[in-house]
C-alpha cells in the first residue's frame, strides 16, 4: 500500500498524545502497519507538541519535510509552524476561528502549493459541550467528516468507544460526532 503521513500538532496539554493513540490504534485494528513518533516530557508544559504518524510499509517514524498528506492542528500558529511538513496538494485541518483563517499572508501561499485548508472552532464546540479539554476529539471528528484519510469515521469512532476511560467515553463520542457533523454538513 502507499504510505499516508499525518502530522498532529498543538500545545502541551491539548491532548495530542491521546489523538495519536486513537489514530494509531484505529489504523492497527484495520490491519495497517503504523508507526507514531510522539513528544513527551518538558514540551508538555504548554510548549509546542508534534506527533508524526506514518501508515504503511515504512521504517522511520519521522515524516520528511514536504511529504505529509494531512496536517491536523489544535492551534492556529502551530499549524503555520508545521506547514513545511505538508506536501504539495496536502490538506490541513485547523482549530481556528473561520472568520480570520488563514492569515492573509499565508492564503496565497497555501493556494500556490495547492494545499487544501479547512478550519472550524473546535474550541468553541468543546466548550459549548461542557468539555473544554476535548478540543482534540472535536477536531478529530471534523477531520473524519471530509473522509480523506486512511482511517475513516466509523473506525475512529469504534476506537474511541474502545479505549476512552469509561468516565469520558460518552462525552468523547459526543464531541467527536459533533465535530464530524460540522464537516459533514458543510
Amino acid at each position: 500500500m502507499t504510505t499516508t503521513n499525518i502530522l498532529l500538532c498543538g500545545l502541551g496539554g491539548q491532548g495530542i498524545l491521546f489523538m495519536t493513540k486513537l489514530f494509531a490504534q484505529a489504523a492497527m485494528d484495520k490491519g495497517l502497519s503504523v508507526m507514531g513518533a510522539e513528544t513527551h516530557g518538558m514540551a508538555q508544559r504548554g510548549g509546542s507538541v508534534v506527533s508524526h504518524l506514518r501508515l504503511g510499509e515504512v521504517k522511520g517514524s519521522l515524516i520528511r519535510a514536504g511529504t505529509a498528506d494531512f496536517l491536523l492542528a489544535l492551534e492556529e500558529n502551530e499549524a503555520y509552524r508545521n506547514l513545511p511538513f505538508l506536501k504539495r496538494g496536502g490538506s490541513m485541518y485547523v482549530n481556528a476561528n473561520p472568520g480570520n483563517f488563514p492569515r492573509e499572508n499565508v492564503r496565497a501561499y497555501l493556494e500556490d502549493h495547492g494545499i487544501m485548508y479547512h478550519c472550524f472552532s473546535a474550541t468553541q464546540t468543546a466548550v459549548e459541550m461542557g468539555a473544554p479539554k476535548s478540543v482534540n476529539l472535536a477536531l478529530l471528528g471534523y477531520f473524519t467528516g471530509f473522509n480523506g484519510g486512511a482511517v475513516r469515521y466509523k473506525e475512529l469512532e469504534r476506537t474511541i468507544d474502545n479505549i476512552s476511560p469509561e468516565k469520558l467515553r460518552v462525552s468523547n463520542l459526543d464531541i467527536f460526532n459533533a465535530g464530524f457533523k460540522v464537516a459533514y454538513n458543510c
Partner: protein
C-alpha cells in the same frame, strides 16, 4: 490481569517504545526493577509501577540513579534478573557504581536501560552514552524499533548471563517515544528469589581483588567480541559498491532513503545493533566489499573513528566519511531528510526530495517555551523571593519544573548544571563573591542529590538561602513518588521522610516551612531567611496542582476574574507573575476561566484588589 502481563505469545499490541522494554523485561522473567525517572525513560518505571503488584516482581523508584544501579546490582549478584532504567545524565550519577560493577560482574542477568536525548528535548546536555560502554567495558545493544526494544531486552539478559556482566541497552528519545505494533513472546519462568553466596575475594573490590577482576573483564571483552561477530543484530543487508553503516534510529532513515532514492542495487547497509564491542571481522569484510563508506550515527563519531581504525590497521584504503567530511553534524538528532540528502550527495545520486516549504514570510509566530502551569506554587514563591532579594541576588537553580522560571518576567534561574548543583554552586558563589545568593531545589531533587551540598554548606559556613520547592511529587517527569511522600500515586502508604527533619539534621539552624500561595507569610519568611547570618532554608510546601487533580486531592476553588471597574492597569499580575491563565485583550487584563484554578496569588499581588473570585458559577 494487565495486558502487558499476559502470557500470550503471538498477541499483538500497540505499544510505546518504553512499554515494549517493560514487556521484554516481563518476558525475560525479571525479579527486580529499579529506576530514577527522567525523560525520555520515565514511562519505563511508570509502567513497571502499574504492573509490579500483579506481576510478582519487586519494583522501586530509587532516590537516585546510583542507588538504583546499586539495588539492581545487589539483586543480580544474588542470582536473579534485574533491570535498572535511567536517562543519559543519570548514567553520570550511576557511573561510580557502574565502573566497578563491570569488574565484579553478575550471576543473574542485569540490564541497564540508558535513554539518550539527542536534540535535548528535555535535558541539560546531549552527551553520547555509547562512550560509557567504552569507558566501563560493558557490552551495548542498540534497538531500532519497538519490537526490537522488547526482543533486545530479552537478548540483553541472556547476554548478561552468558558473560556474567551487566549489559547496557541504549535507546534514544525517538525510540523511547515511538508508538508501534509489538508481537508478544512467551514469559520465561525465572526465580524471583535469589541467594547471596559469600565470595569476598570476588565481590570486595579492594586493590588485591580488583587487579584480578580487571584482567577478567578484559577476557570477557574477547568473549563479547566473539558474540558480537555472530550476533543477528550485526548484519549486512543488500549488496553493492556503496557501503552505509548505521545504528539506532538512523538505520530506519537509511533504509527508507535507499528505497526512495532507488539505489537498492548499489548500496549495502551494515546495521550495528550489538554495538560494543564492534564486530571487527564483519566490518573488515564489509570494508573489503565496497568502494566507499558512509557512517550514519547521531551525536559523536564513535563508530566512524573505530571503523577508520580497523581500516588503518588492515591497510584498507577506502574513503570513510560521516562527521569527518562534514556530511553530518555532531549536533542534535537526525531527521530522515538530512540522512537522505547526505546519502544522495556522498554517492552522487540525484536527490528528488520535495523542496522544503519556506515559511519565513509568515511573521510573528509566537515562541512556545514550556511554562509553569496556572496556579503553580513555584511561581508564587519566585514572586515572594524576588520581592525580598531583588533582581541583583544570584539564583542558582536545579533540575525540575521550576527550571522553567528562567524565562522573563520571572527570570529566577541564573545557573543550572545538574541534579543537586543548585546548593553546591551556591556554596561557591557565596564564597567567591559578596552577592546575595538564593538557591532553588525541588523536593525529589533534594533527596536525589541535594543533601550532601547542604551538609557541605553548613559545615563550611557558607552564607545563602536554600529554597526547597516541595510540591509533593516528582512533577516534571510525570508525578512519580519520592521519599518525602506518605502515599504513592496508587494510594499505597509509604514511609515518609520529613524534609524539615532532614534539613535540621544537616545542622541548618534557620528553617521555615511556608505555604507559597500565602504571599504575605512567604515574604516575611524570605525576609527572616535573608536576615539570618549563615545557611537558611525555606521549605515552600504546596502540592503540585496537576498532581492534586490526578489523585483527586484538588481543593474546591473558584476561578478568578478581573473587575474592570477597579483595575487601573498596574499590570503587576501580568508583569510579575506571568500566569498562562492571564491575557490582555484590547488593553484590558483578563483571566481565562477555563485555565484559572483559583490559587488566588494574583489577587494578593493586585494593588487595587481588583481580582476577585467568581461568585456564581
Amino acid at each position: 490481569m494487565h495486558k502487558l502481563l499476559l502470557d500470550s505469545p503471538g498477541k499483538e499490541m500497540l505499544l510505546l517504545g518504553n512499554e515494549a522494554i517493560v514487556r521484554g523485561a516481563i518476558e525475560a522473567g525479571i525479579a527486580v526493577a529499579t529506576c530514577y525517572p527522567g525523560t525520555p525513560s520515565s514511562e519505563i518505571p511508570d509502567t513497571f509501577f502499574t504492573l509490579y503488584q500483579e506481576g510478582g516482581f519487586y519494583f522501586e523508584y530509587s532516590t537516585n540513579e546510583k542507588v538504583a544501579l546499586e539495588v539492581a546490582s545487589g539483586a543480580a549478584v544474588s542470582g536473579v534478573r534485574s533491570i535498572v532504567s535511567m536517562k543519559h545524565v543519570g548514567m553520570n550519577v550511576a557511573s561510580d557504581a557502574l565502573m566497578t560493577m563491570a569488574y565484579l560482574g553478575v550471576n543473574g542477568g542485569m540490564v541497564i536501560i540508558n535513554a539518550d536525548d539527542p536534540s535535548l528535548f528535555s535535558s541539560q546536555n546531549e552527551q553520547d552514552n555509547r562512550y560509557f560502554s567504552r569507558l566501563s567495558g560493558l557490552p551495548m545493544l542498540e534497538p531500532i524499533n519497538a519490537q526490537e526494544m522488547k526482543d533486545m531486552t530479552i537478548s540483553a539478559f541472556d547476554l548478561s548471563e552468558k558473560l556474567k556482566l551487566p549489559v547496557i541497552l541504549r535507546t534514544t528519545t525517538r525510540l523511547n517515544h515511538i508508538r508501534e505494533r509489538v508481537i508478544f513472546g512467551p514469559i520465561k519462568d525465572k526465580p524471583k528469589k535469589g541467594y547471596f553466596k559469600k565470595d569476598p575475594f570476588h565481590y570486595v573490590a579492594i586493590p588485591a581483588v580488583s587487579r584480578n577482576l580487571h584482567k577478567t573483564l578484559l577476557q570477557k571483552y574477547d568473549e563479547a567480541l566473539k558474540l558480537s561477530e555472530n550476533s543477528e543484530y550485526n548484519s549486512i543487508k543488500g549488496k553493492g559498491k556503496w557501503g552505509i553503516v548505521a545504528n539506532g534510529v538512523s538505520v530506519n532513515y537509511v533504509q527508507d532513503a535507499v528505497e526512495d532514492l532507488g539505489i537498492g542495487n548499489d548500496a549495502a547497509i551494515l546495521r550495528m545493533g550489538f554495538s560494543y564491542p564492534l564486530p571487527n571481522d564483519i566490518i573488515l569484510k564489509f570494508l573489503n566489499s565496497v568502494e566507499k563508506v558512509l557512517v550514519v550515527e547521531e551525536l559523536e563519531p564513535i563508530m566512524e573513528n573505530e571503523i577508520r581504525s580497523i581500516a588503518q590497521s588492515n591497510g584498507i584504503n577506502v574513503s570513510i566519511k560521516g562527521k569527518g567530511g562534514r556530511l553530518f553534524t555532531r549536533l542534535y538528532e537526525f531527521d530522515p531528510g538530512l540522512v537522505r540528502k547526505a546519502i544522495a550527495s556522498y554517492f552522487g545520486v540525484n536527490d528528488t526530495s520535495p523542496v522544503k516549504i519556506d515559511i519565513s514570510n509568515i511573521p510573528d509566530l509566537p515562541g512556545r517555551p514550556p511554562n509553569l502551569c496556572p496556579g503553580c506554587p513555584h511561581r508564587a514563591m519566585y514572586y515572594s523571593i524576588k520581592k525580598v532579594y531583588g533582581e541583583d541576588a544570584i539564583y542558582p537553580s536545579d533540575i525540575g519544573c521550576y527550571t522553567l522560571g528562567v524565562l522573563p518576567p520571572l527570570s529566577m534561574a541564573d545557573i543550572v548544571i545538574c541534579m543537586g548543583a543548585s546548593a553546591g554552586s551556591a556554596c561557591g558563589i557565596s564564597a567567591a563573591t559578596d552577592q546575595k545568593v538564593v538557591a532553588f531545589i525541588g523536593d525529589s531533587t533534594f533527596f536525589h542529590s541535594g543533601i550532601p551540598p547542604l551538609i557541605n554548606a553548613v559545615h563550611n559556613n557558607h552564607k545563602f538561602t536554600l529554597v526547597i520547592l516541595d510540591n509533593g511529587t516528582t512533577a516534571m517527569t510525570g508525578h512519580q513518588p519520592h521519599p518525602g511522600v506518605d502515599t504513592d500515586p496508587l494510594g499505597v502508604k509509604t514511609k515518609q521522610i520529613s524534609i524539615e527533619s532532614v534539613v535540621r539534621g544537616c545542622g541548618v539552624e534557620h528553617v521555615e516551612v511556608v505555604n507559597p500561595l500565602q504571599i504575605k507569610k512567604s515574604i516575611s519568611a524570605a525576609q527572616a531567611a535573608k536576615d539570618f547570618d549563615g545557611v537558611s532554608v525555606i521549605i515552600s510546601k504546596e502540592i503540585c496542582p496537576l498532581y492534586a487533580k490526578s489523585i483527586k486531592r484538588a481543593k474546591k476553588t473558584r476561578p478568578f476574574y478581573v473587575n474592570q471597574d477597579k483595575c487601573t492597569h498596574h499590570m503587576d499580575c501580568i508583569n510579575y507573575l506571568a500566569c498562562p491563565a492571564m491575557y490582555i485583550d484590547n488593553g484590558k487584563t483578563m483571566i481565562n476561566q477555563n485555565l484559572c484554578i483559583g490559587c488566588a496569588v494574583c489577587a494578593q499581588v493586585c494593588p487595587e484588589n481588583a481580582i476577585l473570585p467568581i461568585k456564581d458559577a
